[in-house]
């Protein structure tokens, strides 16, 4: 292992490359990242023996990896924002056919208005698609998570696609020191992909059949059941990774100074790093504050979250997505964790950072202040008062 000062996208590309994908397919919808550009470069230089398919749309990028995965190949694609939305029809299809595709969703805002900057509205729209969704805090984790993703997806008891979500620009375009993993080490961690069922004349199988009311519901039941089973697999793979590489960024969740905290901030993705700094600052002043990172959003680790937070008095959920007409998404899932439990903490939700709006130290301080003073409520934070006509 060697530490390199490297752009997030390139670190991910290098990790995907040593995962030995047979087929990579991508399309540069507004805009692509350096991930697939670097992968195509590696293929062009003969450093990576993969079929790189330049397609005419994100829909076809997902369809190509679908076809390849069904043929028995390890496959990868990456997208973001509008491209992700165009892919969604195929994403449901990939999960429904139980194909262990791995993809990166570089989290960015969705149109209209067109905006290429970071938030997490894109991947949140596909939370019900049957894909396992993992959210990375920093570039080291984003990079490592891809290796774990292949291992989770291809587990014969799981066979579900895995999406690694990483914040656009904040991670993908930032340079950080990242420990890259060598081919030799990866080969010890990630066995070759050997699916039980795939397209071959040696054993002609029918994929993608018509299933009527007599059988459709069971397909969803099995995916739901497998999602629950994957909770253990995600934890185990993170533990395996820890054993082999000495790094642990959390399994289903990760916590920081939560054990004795009375107020905990809950979030996903790169914002976690900023929150940790604030937690340190407030702890130095004697405030009992902590942070919980939701690493696996689907499957949603209810039990782990409850276990970690059941002693807490106040929770602030910070999220870069919104269910228009309802409000915060993650906040309501955190609330549901406490439903029917003996004690329910005060839970406040904050929607922030949409379309790349800066999340500053002050923004996060504000959420803490609001949580302490207000009763349970949800609100947008960091709005430009001049644009909304004052308070």
């Amino acid at each position: 292992m060697s530490t390199t000062f490297i752009e997030g996208s390139i670190a991910v590309a290098k990790t995907v490359a040593v995962s030995r994908p047979h087929v990579i397919s991508a399309y540069p919808i507004t805009p692509q990242t350096h991930i697939v550009e670097h992968l195509s470069e590696l293929v062009a230089n003969g450093e990576l023996k993969s079929e790189f398919v330049n397609v005419e749309s994100e829909h076809s990028a997902a369809s190509v990896v679908l076809g390849s995965s069904a043929t028995g190949a390890r496959t990868y694609t990456a997208t973001t924002s509008q491209g992700f939305l165009l892919m969604i029809e195929v994403l449901f299809n990939i999960a429904g056919m139980r194909l262990p595709v791995v993809m990166t969703c570089v989290n960015r805002a969705v149109s209209a208005p067109i905006n290429i900057w970071n938030d997490q509205q894109d991947s949140m729209t596909a939370r019900d698609s049957g894909w396992i969704q993992l959210y990375a805090e920093d570039n080291q984790e984003a990079s490592d998570m891809h290796l774990q993703a292949f291992k989770i997806a291809e587990n014969k008891d799981i066979m579900l696609p895995v999406m690694v979500c990483m914040d656009g620009f904040v991670l993908t375009h930032s340079f950080d020191p990242v420990e890259l993993i060598s081919q030799e080490q990866v080969d010890k961690f990630l066995p070759p992909f050997k699916p039980e069922y795939y397209l071959t004349p040696k054993n002609p199988l029918t994929f993608g059949t018509l299933v009527g009311p007599d059988g459709y519901m069971e397909t969803r039941y099995f995916i739901e059941k497998t999602m629950h089973a994957s909770l253990q697999v995600i934890s185990d793979v993170a533990a395996d990774f820890h054993n082999q590489f000495g790094r642990f960024q959390g399994g289903l969740i990760d916590t920081y100074k939560v054990e004795d905290a009375s107020l905990v901030l809950v979030a996903m993705g790169s914002i976690i790093g900023t929150i940790k700094d604030i937690v340190d600052e407030l702890r130095a002043k004697g405030q009992k504050v902590g942070v919980l990172k939701v690493r696996s959003y689907r499957p949603f680790p209810k039990d782990e979250i409850y276990k970690a937070l059941n002693h807490v008095k106040e929770i602030a959920v910070l999220e870069k997505a919104v269910s228009l007409g309802y409000g915060g998404i993650l906040v309501n899932e955190i609330k549901s964790v406490f439903y029917g439990k003996p004690k329910t903490p005060k839970i406040n939700g904050f929607i922030l950072g949409l379309g790349g709006r800066d999340i500053t130290v002050d923004t996060i301080h504000q959420t803490i202040k609001e949580t302490v003073k207000a009763s349970s409520e949800e609100k947008f934070i960091g709005l430009n008062e001049a644009l909304i006509g004052g308070k």
Partner: protein
Amino acid sequence: MTTTTLAAPKEQSCQTLLASGHTACTGCGEALAAKLVLGAAGPNIIVTDATGCLEVFTTRFPQSSWEVPFIHSLFENSAAVASGVEVALKALGRQNEAKVIAQGGDGGTADIGLQALSGMLERGHDILYVCYDNEAYMNTGVQRSGLTPFDCMTTTSPCGELSWGNKHNKKDMPSIAAAHGIPYVATASVAFPKDIENKVKKALSITGPKYMQIHSPCPLGWRSNPQLTIKVAKLAVQTGLYPVFEMENGKVTKVRKITTPKTPVEEYLKIQGRFAHLFKSPKGKEEIQKIQEIADRNIEKYGLA
């Protein structure tokens, strides 16, 4: 079906890889065409299919008519899924294991799937794409597609005071496919099974992307007698309305000549309910004349006479 208890009757002319017992309508041209394509291709293939009648009547869980590896994904991505299959075979060193055939109906090919098909043709994948052309969205209830012929009545191009049915001419898919610079394009008709077999075999002997479009009557949508499927298909060819030809590297190299004297288009139109409105008023004659002109242009363009 593929279950052990129901053995498919074996035919003399070609291997049956699309087992009987499926739920296609009586007289379905598409079922016949698909059976002929598979029979000619043989068992060492992997096939993809767009959403449509073919997938619906052959794959109702827990049964399947496909005796070859088969994947159906979505309406518009058969060509892209096939591209994925083809590159995976290469990447896994299994390229000699199977030929890849992508299938779709006329809507899944010429409308919603055209972009994915264009990508597949442009990228040069070694795939035979077969479009079963029954000239409308039959699976969804006979709505017009880009391959619905002029003045044809469908549920979304009805005839009425202001309408003679479909206002547009059939999209020239073979030329669109050929414009991608691909080595082989062919049209065919279920009326001529041996021709289909020959063309499939020829196409599969050529490396690179191939496009084949097979005229496949749909008695339900065309409101024709199921017993007359072959006759209807034959008349489409004989009138010049469905030219049967081969294009190699962009040039027409072979055509199926029509018998002379040419058969007037009325003979084809009058046995189908989808054109019945043209025979109900004197003004309909003018419309039939327009259709005759389409046939005459085809006869001239492809040298069918």
